[in-house]
Amino acid sequence: MADGYMGKILRVDLTSSSIKVEETDKEIAKKYIGGKGYATYLLYQYLKEYEKKGISPKDINPLGAENVLIFATGPGTGVVGFPSPGRYHVMALRSPLTNAIGSANSGGKWGPCLKFAGFDAVVVEGASDKPVYLEIVDGKAELKDASQIWGRTTFDTCRILKEKVGGKRTSVACIGPAGENLVLMACIINDEHRAAGRTGLGAVMGAKKLKAIVVSGAKNVEVAKPEEYQEVSKKCLEKIKNNPVTGEGLPTYGTAILVNIINNAGALPFKNWQSGYNPEADKISGETLTKDYLIRKGACWGCTIACGRVTKVAGGAYQVLYSEGPEYESIWALGNTTGVMDMGAVIKANHFCDELGMDPISLGSTIACAMELKEKGYISEEELQGIDLKFGNSAALVEMVWKTAYKAGFGKYLALGSKRLAEIFGAEGLSMSVKSLEMPAYDPRGAKGIGLTYATANRGGCHVTGYTISPEILGIPEKIDPLTTEGKATWVKVFQDFTCVVNSTVNCLFTTFALGAQDYAELLSTVTGWNFTEEELLKIGERIYNLERVIINKFGFDGKDDILPKRLLEEPMPEGAAKGQVVELDKMKEEYYKLRGWVNGKPTEEKLKELGIEL
């Protein structure tokens, strides 16, 4: 069927080592599109099954065999001419870091290659008692012994399996030592330097003893209305090319260009969020990265924006002759919030995060938390075993990366994430996280809307799902005042719903600097042959967001968890452009719940009925 889908989903049971092929359900796809949406729907079906069997959602162990991991593409993934179609979405029923839902998105070429191999998604349940990897080649899937690659880094694993399978349309998604060691911020790495980074999905894979999934195939993705699609594709790619952000800013500087502008706005969290302004931020800025470390730009499969960075540190203690990234978030988390101003050290630490398979946002923020705990006397010298873990110590930063991956020395505490770390050492308030997921690189005292996003994101402290930084600081699509709370709830809701659409299509969120929901409606309509309107798409996004919320409600999350750390609510920003500001969360939250049709963070029955969600 030519409709953007390959028509098949793989269901893998690692406990019984069995693999089943089922058809992609197009009636579900019409309501949930694919990617994140389809995966959320499937996860909810598992939850219902478990409840029927007497297993309470709250008893589901994220590192247990009962957790479910889904790798999903959508009808736009791998389609030639589709704007930035080289992405895939991964979800886990439960995250070991947060105990809420697990969700992450990655680029590179794994997503397209899964479709070339003949499948829309891979559902993994159960757990193997011995390390295995999954090989999906030309429509056939097989579980194979991974004893020879267990223990290897992500770089080695990708290279070994890619060579074994051969071919140009081949890609590997895998875990490194961090995932195998069940580090709670372990991630999934594909194509060596792309990551489904957040919420500890690498640990879920490690607990299942699934080392990697290698995909390869010769199929192409067909569209329903080729001629109309060509027209729409041409129009959208022109918009992307002519837009100053997607056509010039991102390809020239990558995401790192944000360091100076966010710092200028007084919203770049510094030293574990004790301030939002760092007078030396230029040392780790996008301008510095481009001038002193950039080899060339890079791109995910089929992408015309090319925001990727290929970099090197030419000499010195942190020399690395080829690396990719670091992105803005990685620079902030490994650099600014830890006070480390040595760009070489930041690049090296990021390189190790890729190689060992860990989320740099959670890792960097956890290290920064430890630095503040040490500074304030909560952690003793003895515990640190000879590491001088203080703000700005580049050598300590780089060393703690591998120590965390192997749970060595003090690393065993860092491996738990900042929430548990801070609790263990008696200072819970110093973990800068929401629902135990460390918040990313924007202080909401300098941009109030992103504070509402952090508080209400289903996966925890997340910025991408409701990226209000775009209007608040960058002025895209229009400029709104970052320091006020009026109207922020509407922006957050619309962005959250639309981001669900993008993550279900699955293509890159950066296209939305140039494209809107109407463009997506035309793209998806001509690819699938179904007639989506802009309103219908946003309704689908709202449906996905609400179903995801139902799942976390079942895990016990509600209004009391849609909060921010006390520091952001009660400690006025000490300096910078947002000096004196705190986040007036309650006001925004009240308006947000009204817009959402939620009471105490839970969708009402009317809302679920309106969205056609059957509980």
């Binding site: 100053p244 800013g249 500087y253 260009i257 706005a265 996008g286 960058l474 005042d481 320091l483 910078g576």
Partner: protein, 92 residues
């Protein structure tokens, strides 16, 4: 009065400096006029829209970190103010 102008991204590359100190009369237009004399005469059109008599719509222009699009009322600069100018940029 002396006002500092900081340049970022492509503007930094184009004019070869991270920042300059400019003597001006306190108005934005005059600040940019004076800066053009120091940097290059095309700096004026790079940053200012003569037709609207305001900073270009597609420039991020902040005074002490506050975007001028968020400042209400007449904008007057003070001695020691820091103006930062960015071309259209974004990330994630």
């Amino acid at each position: 009065m002396k006002v500092k102008i900081e340049l970022y991204a492509t503007l930094r590359d184009k004019y070869g400096v991270k920042g300059i100190v400019v003597e001006c009369d306190g108005s934005i237009k005059n600040l940019i006029e004076q800066a053009s004399k120091l940097l290059d005469e095309d700096f004026f059109d790079e940053v200012y829209d003569s037709r609207r008599n305001f900073v270009r719509e597609d420039r991020i222009f902040t005074i002490n970190g506050r975007n001028i699009k968020d400042i209400k009322g007449e904008i007057r600069l003070k001695e020691g103010d820091v103006v930062a100018i960015f071309p259209p940029i974004a990330g994630g």
